[in-house]
Amino acid sequence: MSSADQSGPRSMADRVAGRLLEATVLERLGIALASVTTAILIGLVLVAAAGYNPILFLNNLIVGALGSERILARTLRLSTFFILTGVAVAIAFRAGVFNIGVQGQFVVGGLFCTVSILWTAPFLPTGTVGGIGLMLIGTVAAAVGGGLYGALPGVLKAYADANEIITTIMLNFIAIGVVSWLLTNPLRAEGSTNVQTERLPDYVGLPPIVFGDSSFSIIGLLLTLALVAVVAIAMTRTGIGYDMVTSGYQAGAAVYSGVDAKRTIVATMTFSGAVAGLASAVYVIMFQGRFIEPASIHTYGYDAIAVSLLAANNPLGVVPAGLLFGGLNSSSSYIQTYSDVPVQLIDGIVGIVIVFVAAPELFRMAAKRAGLGGEDR
C-alpha cells in the first residue's frame, strides 16, 4: 500500500464510502426519507417562528414544484441540472475521492461550451445541421473543460498529495473569479451592460416538445437519463469503473490487486469533472443560450453533494434525489414571487438535510427506540 492511501482524508473517504455503501438499500431509503422529512419539519418550525404561516409555506412548496405545466417544466429543468451534477459528485465519492469542486467544473465547462460554439459558428452552415454540429462541439468542449478542471485537483492529490477537499474548494473560488473577469472584459457581449457573453445562434438549442417552454426540452432530460444509465453501467461493468469502486471500498485491496491508485484518482476526477461539464452544456444550450456571470449561477455543484449523499452515491439513486432538489428549488422561485418568506430558507433546509444524511446513526437510534426495524439494521 502506498503512503497516499494512509493519509487522513483518504482513509476518511474510505470510511464514508464504506459506511454509505454498506447500508442496505431499504435502510438508505429510510434514512433519506427521514432526513428530508425532518429537515422540512424544522424548516416549517422556522417559518412559524419567523412569523409566517407554515401551512401556507408547505402549500407553496408543493404548488411551486408541481402546480402547473409551466412550473413542472421548470422543476424538470432544474432536476436535469441536479441529476447531472449529482452524478458527477457520486462518481468521485464512490471512488473515495471528495470532489467538492463540481461548481467550478460546471463554470469552466459552461464557458468552454459557449466559447467553442461562438467561435466555430461562422465556419459551419446555419440551420438544423449546423445547429446539431455546434451542439456536439459545445458538448464535447464542455466535457473537456470540466474534465481538465477536475483533473487538476486529481493530479495534485495523486502526485503531490494535496488534500482534494481544500484544492477543489479553492478552485471553485478561482473558476468563478476568473470566468467572471473574462465575461466582464474580453468575452463580454458587445454593448451589453450585463456581465454575459454574446447569445448563441438561434438554431442552437433543443426544441421544446412535450412542454411549450423554450427553456426546457424533454430531449435534455432524456439525454441526461441516458447518461446516468451509461455511468451506472460504466461504474459496475467496466474495468476502470471496477477499479474506481474498489479503490473507494477497499483502497488497500485495490492496490494489492494491481490497481494504479494514482492513475485511478486522476481518472476518477477527470470523469467526474467531465460530467459536471456536461451538466453545464445542457445549462447553456437548453436553458441560457449564452453564458452569464458565474457568481449568479445557482450553486448546483454544492447542492449536488447533498443530492449524491441522499442517493447513497448511487448514480441511479441520484435520479429521484435530483427530482426532489429540482422540486425544492422550483418552489423556491415560486415562493420568491408569491410569498414574503425569504427564499434562502430553502438553502438552509438543504443544509439540514445534509447534516442528517451525515448522521445515519441518529435515525438508527431513533428507529430502535421507536421499536422500528430489526435488531441489527
Binding site: S3, S7, G8, P9, S11, M12, R15, V16, R19, L46, A50, G51, F98, I100, L156, A160, D161, A162, N163, I165, I166, T167, I169, M170, L171, F173, I174, G177, V178, S180, W181, T184, N185, A295, Y302, I305, A306, L309, P342, Q344, L345, I346, D347, G348, I349, V350, G351, I352, V353, I354, V355, V357, A358, A359, E361, L362, M365
Partner: protein, 363 residues
C-alpha cells in the same frame, strides 16, 4: 507517552514559513507578470523604494486586522483536529458568528463600542451552543465529519441570510458600530511601530493573546497533552483513565466558539453584516483550515500563515494607491491561488493519526 511524537514535527514551522513566503512571492510574480501586465523589471528596479511604498504602517496594521479572523478560526480548527475531530464547518461557524454579533449588537442598541463588545460576547456564546449540537452529532451519533461539516456551511449560507432578511428586511444589516482602535498616547507617535502596535484594533491584540495562550496551553499543560493524545493515540489516553470523548467535546465546542469569535471580529472590523453571495465571511473559514495546515498544527505557525493571507488580501488596496493597473477581481483570487501552490509544494501535512474516527471506549 508514545502518542506525543507529534511534538517532533511541530518544532520546525519556521522552515515551512520561509517556503510559504517564497511561494507567495513567486505566485505574485507570475500572476502579476502574466495577467496584469505589471512591468515587473521596473518594479524590481525601484527596489526598496517600491517595497517601502507598499509596506506602509497602515498596510501592516490592516493586514493584521484581516488576519485576525482567519487566525481565530485556524486556532479553533487546529485544536479540534489535534484531538481527532476534523471541524470542516469552520466557515459555517464564522458565518453564524458574524451574524450573531450583528444581530446582538443591533438588538442591544447599536449605539457605540460597548454594544459591539456585548455583541461579540453574545455571538461567542451562541456559536458555542451550535458547536455543542455539532459535537453531539459527530461524537455521540458518529456523523461523518466531512459531510456534517459541509452541512454546517450550507446551513450557515441558507439560514443566516434568511434570518437576516426576517430581521432587517434585507440580507445585509444596517450600519453597526465597531470596536474602534486602541490608541496609546505618545507611544502611537513612534514612526511605523506606533501605527502598527500602539494604534491598533483591540481585537487584534486579543487575537495575539489567544494565539500565545493556545500555544502555551497545547504544548505546556497537562490538558494540552491530553488533546494531542486524543488525536494521536486515543487508546493510550483511555487506558490512562481519561475520557477521550470528553476531551473531544471540549475542543469541538472551543473550535466553534473561536470560529464564531472570528466571524464577530470580522464584523467588528467592517461596518455592517453582509449576507449576499458567500456572505461577508467569503471563504475565510476555509483559509483558516489551510492556515493551520501550513502552520503544521502549531498555533504560532497558523497565525503567521494567516498573517500572510491577510497581507496578500490587503495588497489590492496598496496596488490601487500605487496606480498599478490590476483587476481587483483577479487580485482577490490571489490567496486561493497561493493556497493551492503551497499545498502542492508541501503536499501532505502530518495529520493526527486518529482524525475522523469516532472513538468507542471498550469500557
Amino acid at each position: 507517552m508514545s502518542g506525543l511524537d507529534s511534538l517532533e514535527y511541530a518544532r520546525h514551522p519556521g522552515v515551512r514559513l520561509v517556503g510559504l513566503v517564497l511561494a507567495v512571492l513567486a505566485a505574485l510574480g507570475v500572476v502579476g507578470a502574466v495577467v496584469f501586465d505589471v512591468p515587473l523589471a521596473e518594479v524590481l528596479s525601484d527596489g526598496l523604494e517600491t517595497l517601502a511604498s507598499v509596506v506602509t504602517p497602515g498596510y501592516v496594521a490592516r493586514s493584521m486586522e484581516m488576519a485576525a479572523p482567519i487566525t481565530l478560526a485556524a486556532i479553533g480548527g487546529l485544536y479540534a483536529e489535534k484531538s481527532g475531530v476534523f471541524n470542516i464547518g469552520l466557515e459555517g461557524f464564522m458565518i453564524f458568528g458574524a451574524f450573531f454579533a450583528a444581530a446582538a449588537t443591533y438588538f442591544v442598541g447599536a449605539g457605540g463600542a460597548v454594544h459591539a463588545w456585548v455583541g461579540i460576547g453574545i455571538s461567542v456564546l451562541l456559536t458555542m451552543g451550535l458547536a455543542v449540537l455539532f459535537a453531539v452529532l459527530l461524537i455521540r451519533y458518529k456523523a461523518d465529519q466531512i459531510v456534517a461539516g459541509l452541512g454546517v456551511w450550507f446551513i450557515g449560507l441558507g439560514l443566516v441570510p434568511f434570518t437576516a432578511a426576517v430581521i432587517w428586511g434585507s440580507r445585509n444589516s444596517p450600519r453597526l458600530p465597531g470596536v474602534g482602535r486602541l490608541t496609546v498616547p505618545v507611544l502611537s507617535e513612534i514612526p511605523f511601530l506606533g501605527r502598527v502596535v500602539f494604534d491598533q484594533s483591540p481585537l487584534v491584540w486579543l487575537t495575539v493573546l489567544i494565539v500565545v495562550g493556545a500555544w502555551i496551553f497545547l504544548y505546556r499543560t497537562q490538558y494540552g497533552y491530553w488533546i494531542q493524545a486524543a488525536g494521536e493515540n486515543p487508546e493510550a489516553l483511555d487506558t490512562a483513565g481519561i475520557d477521550v470523548n470528553r476531551v473531544r467535546y471540549a475542543t469541538v465546542i472551543f473550535s466553534g466558539g473561536l470560529a464564531g469569535l472570528g466571524g464577530a471580529v470580522l464584523l467588528a472590523h467592517s461596518s455592517s453584516f453582509v449576507g449576499t453571495g458567500q456572505t461577508m465571511v467569503d471563504g475565510r473559514g476555509w483559509l483558516g483550515i489551510v492556515a493551520y495546515l501550513f502552520g503544521n498544527y502549531n498555533p504560532l505557525g497558523a497565525a503567521a500563515a494567516a498573517l500572510l493571507f491577510g497581507g496578500v488580501d490587503m495588497l489590492q488596496g496598496q496596488f490601487q494607491t500605487l496606480n498599478i493597473e490590476a483587476s481587483s477581481k483577479l487580485l482577490g483570487l490571489l490567496p486561493y491561488v497561493v493556497v493551492i501552490v503551497v499545498l502542492t509544494g508541501w503536499g501532505k501535512t502530518q495529520v493526527p493519526s486518529s482524525v475522523g474516527e469516532p472513538y468507542e471506549s471498550e469500557e
